[in-house]
Point group: D2
Chain length 256, copies 4
C-alpha cells in the first residue's frame, strides 16, 4: 500500500469462491500486496468460517437465492461486504438499509457492474447527453449470450435519459418512416439500442452522441473477465471507510 | 492527364445539371483538367443540345421516369453514358443491352453507388466473409433519412451472403433467446443489419467480421456528397474504352 | 428561450465578423430565436458601433494583436465578452482580471476551444486517467495543418497528466527498446501523442485508456467548423450571469 | 471435412511443440476432426520421430537457428511443411526452392503471419491505396513489445506503397512544418506509421485511407494468440495440394 508500508494487509474472504467470478476474485486478492485472502467459501461451506478466519471484508459473488442472507450474516458479525451478485431489488435493499442502521460502522457496496470502464462510461454518458441532440448505444457481445440488449446498455440508456431530461431535451430526431425489418433496433428510455453478437468478442459498449457537425463517442471494451477485478479490489479497499449501503461502484469513484 | 499533356480534353455533358448531384458533377467535371464541360442539361432543356455541343460522354443524374429514354437517345447518337439515376430493373437493362448490340463502340455504365469506398467495402466484405464465423453490419446516417436499412447496407449484406455461401458457411452463431424489443436489428440475407440515425453524420457503413480471438472491421465514411465525385470522374474517363453495358462501378475498379 | 417566451432577445455583436469563424458566428446568432445580431464589426469598423447598437454581449473572434484592447473597450462599456481569439497569456489575463474588479457586473469568457465535445473529452480524460495504467492520444486532422500535435491534444495530455498525478500513478508502461524511426510519436507531459494527417478529415481526437483486460476510448469528431457554434452560443447565453473572468468553456458546463 | 466424411484424418506433426505458438498449434490440430496430431517435437527430440509417426504434414514453429535444417529434413522425407518461424531471407528461400525442384510433389508454405485477418488487411490495403490521396497506419500492441513499428505494419506499408505506385500516385499530402517532438510518427515506404502501446491490448492494426469528403478504414484486432490458428490449419489442409514454395498465406487465400 503506497505510503503505509508498515500497515498489515486487509483480511478478505470470498463467498462463491468456486464460481467463475469468485475464482477470479480469489486470484486478484491473492495477488494484491495489501490484501490477504483468509477464506474461500464454496457452496458447501459454512459461513462461520468467515468469522473464524478473522475476515474484515467479504466479497459476495454467489447467487440471487442466498446473497441477501449472506450479507445479513456478514453485517451481524461486523464484516464489511462487497456484493457483485444480482437479484437485489428495492425491498431487499430497504431491509438491508434498516439492518445497517443498527450496525453503524459497517459498510456494504452492492455493485451490479465492477468494470470501472463501464461505470465511467455511464457517468460520462449522463453528462454528455445534456449537450447533444442525438444519442445511440451499440452493445457488442460474444454470440453465446442469451439476452439482448445487455443490462449494461439498459443502464446506460437510463443514464442518457436522465441527462436529456435534466437539459430539457425532447425526443431524439428520427425521420424513419419505413423500417420493415426493425433495423433501428430496440428503444430503451427513448434511446435506440443495438445489439451485435460476434464470435471473438467478449463485452463491449459504444455510446454515440451527435450534434450539428460533430460526434462524441464513448467506448468500453472488456476483453477478459479479469477486467472486473480492479473494481472488486477498489471496493474491497474502500468499503471499510464508507459505512452504510452504497449502490453502484460510481459512488466510490472520484468523478469530480 | 498524366503523361499525355497534348491530348485534348474529353467533352462531357451533364443531364440533371440543376439537381444536387448534378450540380456537384458539373463542378467536378469543370475542375478536372482532362475534361471539358460542354453542356449542362436541365429539366426544360432539349437533349439535342448534347449532340450539338459535341459531347463524347454524358453523365445522367436525372430521375427514374426519364433515365431510360435519355440513355436510348445517347446510345443512338454514339455518346457514351455514365448513369447514376436509380430505377433500372432487369427488364430495362435487358432492353438497353439489346440496343447496345447495334451500337458496338458505345459504352454505358450504370452505377447505383459512385462512392468508391462503398464499392470497395462491398468487394472486400464478400472476400472476408469466406473466412469468418460471424458477420454484421452497422450503417449510420443523418436523422432525416426516411428508410432503414440503407440500400448500401442491403447490397453489402448480399455480398457477405455470397461469400459465406461460396465458403460453405452456415448461419451465423447467435444464441439470443430473449430480445423483446428487437435490439438484434434487421436480418438481410442472413446478416444482422443495424441502422443508427444521428445528427452530424452523413453516410457511414461499418462491417464487422469475427472469429475465435479476432475481429476484422471495414468502415466507410462519406462526410460529404462530394465524395461521390471521384467515382463519377472515374466512370467518365473509362466508359469510352468499355463498350457495352457495365452494371456497378466495381466493374471499372482494379481489384486484382 | 424555454419558459420565458415573453423575454426580449439578447442583443449580440460579433467582432471579426468577416473572418471564417466570425461569419459562422454571425450566422449562428442570426439563426437563434433568443438572440439578435445587432452589429457585425470588421477590421475597418470602429468599436463604438458596438455601443451604438446597444449590444449586451460581444463575441470576439479577431486576431491576437487586437483582442486585448477590444475586450478592454467592451468591459469599460459594460458589455459582456465571449472571446475565442488565441494569444492570451498569464500577463494579459491578469491585467484583465484587475480591470474586471472595477466592473463588477461584467462577465468575460476566454475559451481556447468552443467545441463542447472537445471540452468534454478533456474533462472525461482527466477523470478516467486516474483508473488506467495506460493512456495515449491520437489526433487526426486535414493534411493542410501546419503544426503537430494539435493544441487540443496538448491540452488533453495535460489533463491526463493531472489525473494520473492525482491518483499517484507513475509513468505509463512501455518496454520499447528499438524504434529507429520514431513510431511511438511525441511525448507530452508523459503521454504519447500521435498526429495523423489525412485528406477528408477536419479535426478529430481519440483518447485511449488501457488496463488489464480492458480499454476505454473517448473520441471527438469535428466534421465542420459549424460544430464550434453550439459552444459560442452557450457562452453568449451564460456570460451575463457569470461576472468576472472565466477561462475555458468547461467552467460553463454542468459536469456534476 | 465437408463432403468427405469417409476420408481418413491428415497426419500432422508439430515442431516447437512446447513453445507458446507450438502448444497452441497442438491444441488446434488436436481439436480439428479432419486432422490427427501424431507427433509433438520439442527442443530435445529427434526429428526422426516425425517420420516414424507417419506424419504427412509438419508445422514448424521453432526458432530461426534451426528452421532451415528442419525444413530440409522434412522435404527430404517427402513431408509437406507449414513454417511460421521467422528468420528466412532471400538466400535461404532460394536454397529451399532449389531443393524443392528435386522433390516435385512436396509443398512448403512459409508464412510470416498466420492471422488471416492481418493478411486480408494487407491485401485490401494494396487495392484501396490506388484510389485514395492519403493513407496512414496505426498499429497498437501490449506495452511489453520491444520494437516499434510492428513487422505487420511495415509489411502493410509496403503493400500500400505498391498500390500507390501502380496508380501513379505521388507522396501523400502533408503540410506539417512544425513537429518538434515527432508526433507524425515513423515513415515507412512513404507511409506514416504510428505505434500505440497499451495495457490490455494484444495486436491490432488500423489502416486509414482518405479522399475528398470520405474515409475508408481497415482494422484488424487479434485479441488472443489463438487467432493465428485458423491460418495454421488452413495451411496444413492446403499445403499438400500446392507443391513447391509459397511465401505468405495470401497465396492460399481466395481473393478473387
Amino acid at each position: 500500500m503506497p505510503g503505509t508500508p508498515a500497515s498489515r494487509p486487509l483480511r478478505v474472504a470470498v463467498l462463491g469462491a468456486s464460481g467463475r467470478m469468485g475464482s477470479e476474485a480469489c486470484r486478484a486478492v491473492d495477488g494484491a500486496e495489501d490484501l490477504e485472502l483468509v477464506a474461500r467459501i464454496g457452496r458447501e461451506d459454512d459461513l462461520s468460517a468467515v468469522v473464524d478466519a478473522g475476515a474484515q471484508v467479504a466479497v459476495d459473488l454467489t447467487v440471487p437465492a442466498v446473497t441477501a442472507q449472506n450479507v445479513d450474516f456478514l453485517v451481524e458479525h461486523g464484516i464489511h461486504a462487497v456484493v457483485g451478485t444480482t437479484g437485489w431489488d428495492d425491498e431487499s435493499r430497504g431491509a438491508l438499509r434498516r439492518r445497517l442502521e443498527e450496525a453503524p460502522g459497517v459498510g456494504v457496496l452492492i455493485a451490479p457492474n465492477f468494470a470501472i470502464g463501464a461505470v465511467l462510461t455511464a457517468c460520462f454518458a449522463e453528462i454528455a447527453a445534456r449537450y447533444y441532440e442525438s444519442a445511440e448505444i451499440i452493445e457488442m457481445h460474444h454470440p453465446d449470450k442469451l439476452d439482448a440488449p445487455s443490462g449494461t446498455a439498459v443502464h446506460t440508456a437510463a443514464a442518457i435519459a436522465r441527462g436529456r431530461a435534466a437539459a430539457g431535451l425532447g425526443p431524439v430526431p428520427d425521420a424513419t418512416e419505413k423500417d420493415p425489418q426493425g433495423a433501428r433496433g430496440a428503444v430503451v428510455d427513448g434511446v435506440h439500442v443495438h445489439a451485435v453478437r460476434q464470435r471473438g468478442l467478449v463485452a463491449h459498449e459504444v455510446v454515440q452522441f451527435g450534434g450539428v457537425g460533430e460526434q462524441l463517442v464513448l467506448r468500453h471494451d472488456s476483453f477478459d473477465r479479469v477486467s472486473f477485478m480492479s473494481g472488486v479490489l477498489l471496493g474491497v479497499r474502500e468499503v471499510g471507510s464508507r459505512p452504510g449501503l452504497t449502490v453502484g461502484l460510481d459512488g466510490y469513484l472520484d468523478l469530480g
